[in-house]
Amino acid sequence: MHLAEVPLAAGGDEASHAPFPDLRGLWAACRMRWMRRRLLFRALRKCGQLAAVADRTGAIRPNDILCFATVRNEAERLPYFLDHHRGQGVAHFLIVDNDSTDGTRDLLTARPDVSLWRTGHSYRLSRFGMDWLAWLMIRHGHGHWCLTLDADELLVYPHHDTRDLRDLTAWLDAARRPSFGAIMLDLYPKGPLADRSYQPGQNPLDVIDWFDAGNIVTKYQPPQRNLLVRGGVRRRVFFAAEPERAPTLSKTPLIRWNRRYVYVSSTHSALPTHLNRVRGRAAGDVPSGVLLHTKFLPSIVAKSREEKRRREHFANSSLYEDYYDALIGNPDLWSPTSTRYQGWRQLEALGIMSRGRWD
């Protein structure tokens, strides 16, 4: 008998088995508190990097749902992105344009429900845009339900075809849940990536509608108390040799914001830590959504070439050169085990998201 091998410690939730007082827990809480303050301070320091292009925030009414995003050269995706989320009840978009050159700025300033800021500073050095957004959220997001997304993410949630975000957030309010979790679902086409064509404004699902349904890996991260979900097609195809580098899929994109809150790394985790509690206690489900990730539209091949040169998307970009090289090679991500997207009920049946108690 090798008792040392008996799995004693619970890997799952934050129920700590440490004796009272839980010194390690207190220390972690303390560290997280200082991290949050540091990040807030950083946001204040960087607010000078933003220049308003079209500030229409005066039109925001109390209880409006706001959407925040940092974009660069997304003129292709933005028309559908805006339509999709406007249709779900987002009242105002607050967008930071990081030096686009493809007409993104004109496209955005022409929309009456978009407020636009621009900056030429480094995306990587502003924590991938989070510092800029943190400032805008302190300034305009306080008290609102805030949806923080990338331009290549489309939020879907249970019942999204019949109920909008106002219904969802009202339910979350009633259930005393300040945040709503979602995972990214990487969509890809059948066949080599660049062999399709996509028109701005078109539903990306017309072009890329396949995904990996059952290869996620879940891990609990104690200090920030969030769940780290990895997997999907990128882990399968590009990171089969070094799984630790595979991109994180879990996010908490929708939060009833307070000016003291802050996102830590992209929207993968937030502080204070209770915002990351977007899963059930014990074994039950809580409602969650999916961010349809439209990264692999045909333009990805050309974009990868540029990103490889700019080195702005990863903290240590040199480690990801293989990844970019693979993408530049116009790969086929499809496999006979891929699943075709059919809607949220399918995602729920597959166990990718859940309606929880929100029937």
Binding site: A10, N215, T337, S354, G356, R357
Partner: protein, 565 residues
């Protein structure tokens, strides 16, 4: 025969006004109680929306707080007004502002007329039945509750605990038998008059003022004193989830509500335009005499509640990541692990696939790659055969595999040559059927004809690994269905254990095995083991094989198909 409504309103006043108008225009008097906490401007607009309706009244307003007597007080005020102002009323139906009428008023009228002098109120004895979803039962009647549960949760809980420890109990007034039930009822004029004019009423009121959530027990208890005929069910469809929050109906519940045949549903989402347009619109022709049938909806919801409290077994995802031991089953479906079989039998995997119609994999935890069935490189759901990905999270690999193939039994080979991290997980999983032929790893070594110096090391390593694995399988924490044979025993009589395993995997097939897998050639195996011993190793896991090559069992006729009568 006339039915009137008492409506308690505190939010979404525009919808409440529309519903009140709906009833009032169909000749049903409506008495409305507006929570005093509603701002005056809103109340005024609400009243303005209902002007011109002669049979709508507003009663004196109380400041209502959830779970307190104020709601009963409001109900009593409204009911009194309804009975006094509309002498023709035979029934009073209590509704809230977010209730939605599902069937035409005429159907309700005829339904009540067919059941004269009947009170429709859910009334369940507090002693014998667990009506309450979580929370206090009979203690609602015997403790004191001075603190608001919604605002001072800790004080509330602490005070309850204190009273329990001290042994404090309130005395229940003589003649009252505590009953509980849904807040929403439909009572006759006779019963209501009797309740409101009960000579002991002041005493009862004083008692119920301090009872926890009196709106779910005041009328429910008193009706037992005064009613001649109780139908213990509510005409209002009202669902609570397992946390006791009322369920909200949205547009997508339209068909469900239609099929329920209930008269009124609570509570409708104020923005559910389709629901309001449909049910407040012009009614459909033809009288529907169906009994209200909330059971259909109940079944649907109880299933959903179970999923939310216990979750889908074996699913690990963003919003379900149970703590170890709390997962309601570590995997989603039964599966089989075979150790030593593919070494001892030459065509075991093919044979097993033919026998049970399951998906038979090779060594899923092989150090080089996951050997999926049919040599696939990517398996269901996008599982990669990369060893690095698998070993990064072996549990997730296995739980994903079982989840992705729900409905199809999975079988795979395992052995001491594989990555062992998954060992404890397999042992703790009640879904795992683990069958081990110990020592069978020696057969491929025996056939490899390598030098005995290399073989000895390899054999010692495999034996140690397997012994450790067997310790895990024999540990008290093990919940898998484990069967262990030594190789010597198995070779003596292979058909019986195989038959047991096959029957367990495919219980409905119930057929006798007519074909055995081909046993590997074991001629000289005993001598092989003896040579290992002579080299200084001690092979023991395979059991007793005499060195004189007394292969007493099948190996003498290895190629012959095994026939069982």
């Amino acid at each position: 025969m006339s039915v009137g409504f008492v409506m308690l309103v505190h939010t979404a006043l525009d919808r409440a006004a529309a519903v009140a108008r709906h009833w009032a225009e169909r000749d049903c008097p409506v008495v409305i109680h507006v929570d005093r906490r509603v701002p005056r401007a809103e109340t005024r607009a609400f009243a303005a929306a209902l002007t011109g309706l002669a049979n709508v009244r507003f009663c004196r307003r109380h400041r209502c707080e959830w779970g307190t007597w104020s709601i009963v007080a409001a109900t009593i005020t409204g009911t009194r007004m309804a009975l006094n102002e509309f002498p023709e009323l035979s029934h009073v139906f209590l509704v809230s502002g977010s209730c939605l009428p599902l069937r035409p008023v005429d159907e309700l009228r005829s339904y009540l007329a067919e059941r004269p002098r009947t009170d429709f109120i859910e009334s369940v004895t507090a002693d014998e039945v667990d009506w309450i979803v979580g929370g206090l039962g009979r203690e609602r009647f015997t403790l004191r509750f001075p603190f608001a549960w919604k605002r001072h949760r800790r004080l509330f809980d602490g005070y309850v605990r204190l009273q329990r420890q001290v042994g404090f109990r309130r005395r229940i007034p003589v003649g009252l038998e505590p009953h509980l039930g849904s807040q929403w009822w439909c009572l006759t004029r006779q019963t209501l008059t009797a309740i409101l004019n009960d000579p002991a009423r002041t005493g009862h009121m004083r008692y119920f003022r301090r009872v926890w959530i009196p709106d779910e027990c005041y009328f429910q208890t008193l009706v037992r004193r005064h009613s001649t005929r109780i139908e213990s069910r509510s005409l209002t469809l009202s669902k609570f989830d397992f946390q006791g929050k009322p369920h909200i109906f949205y547009d997508d519940h339209l068909e469900l509500l239609r099929r329920s045949d209930c008269f009124v549903a609570r509570k409708a989402w104020p923005q559910a335009n389709l629901l309001y347009d449909t049910f407040l619109g012009p009614g459909t022709a033809g009288m529907n005499r169906a009994e209200p049938n909330p059971a259909r909806i109940d079944r649907l919801f109880s299933k959903a509640v179970e999923r939310r409290t216990r979750g889908r077994a074996g699913l690990y995802m963003q919003s379900r990541f149970p703590r170890e031991g709390w997962e309601n089953g570590p995997t989603s479906a039964p599966y089989s692990v075979f150790e030593g079989f593919s070494e001892l039998f030459e065509d075991f995997e093919d044979w097993l696939g033919r026998m049970v119609g399951a998906r038979v994999h090779g060594h899923l935890f092989h150090p080089e790659r996951a050997e999926f069935a049919d040599g696939e490189t990517v398996f269901n759901g996008g599982l990669s055969d990369s060893a690095a990905l698998r070993d990064h999270a072996p549990r997730a690999f296995l739980t994903n595999l079982v989840w992705n193939t729900r409905g199809e039994r999975q079988c795979f080979q395992f052995g001491p040559g594989d990555r062992q991290e998954i060992g404890w997980f397999l042992a703790r999983d009640p879904n795992a059927q683990i069958s081990v032929i110990t020592g069978a790893w020696a057969v491929p070594l025996f056939h490899s004809h390598q030098s005995f110096v290399d073989l000895r090391k390899r054999a010692a390593l495999l034996q140690r690994t397997e012994a450790r694995h067997l310790d895990i399988l024999r540990a008290p924490q093990t919940r898998a269905r484990v069967r262990i044979w030594t190789m010597a025993d198995f070779v003596l009589n292979p058909m019986e254990p195989l038959q047991i395993l096959i029957d367990e995997i495919a219980p409905r097939a119930q057929r006798r095995l007519t074909e055995a897998p081909r046993l590997a050639d074991l001629t000289g195996f005993g001598q092989f083991l003896q040579t290992l011993k002579n080299q200084g190793m001690k092979p023991y896991l395979m059991g007793d094989f005499p060195a004189d090559d007394g292969v007493r069992a099948a190996p003498a006729r290895p190629r012959r198909p095994y026939l069982v009568q």
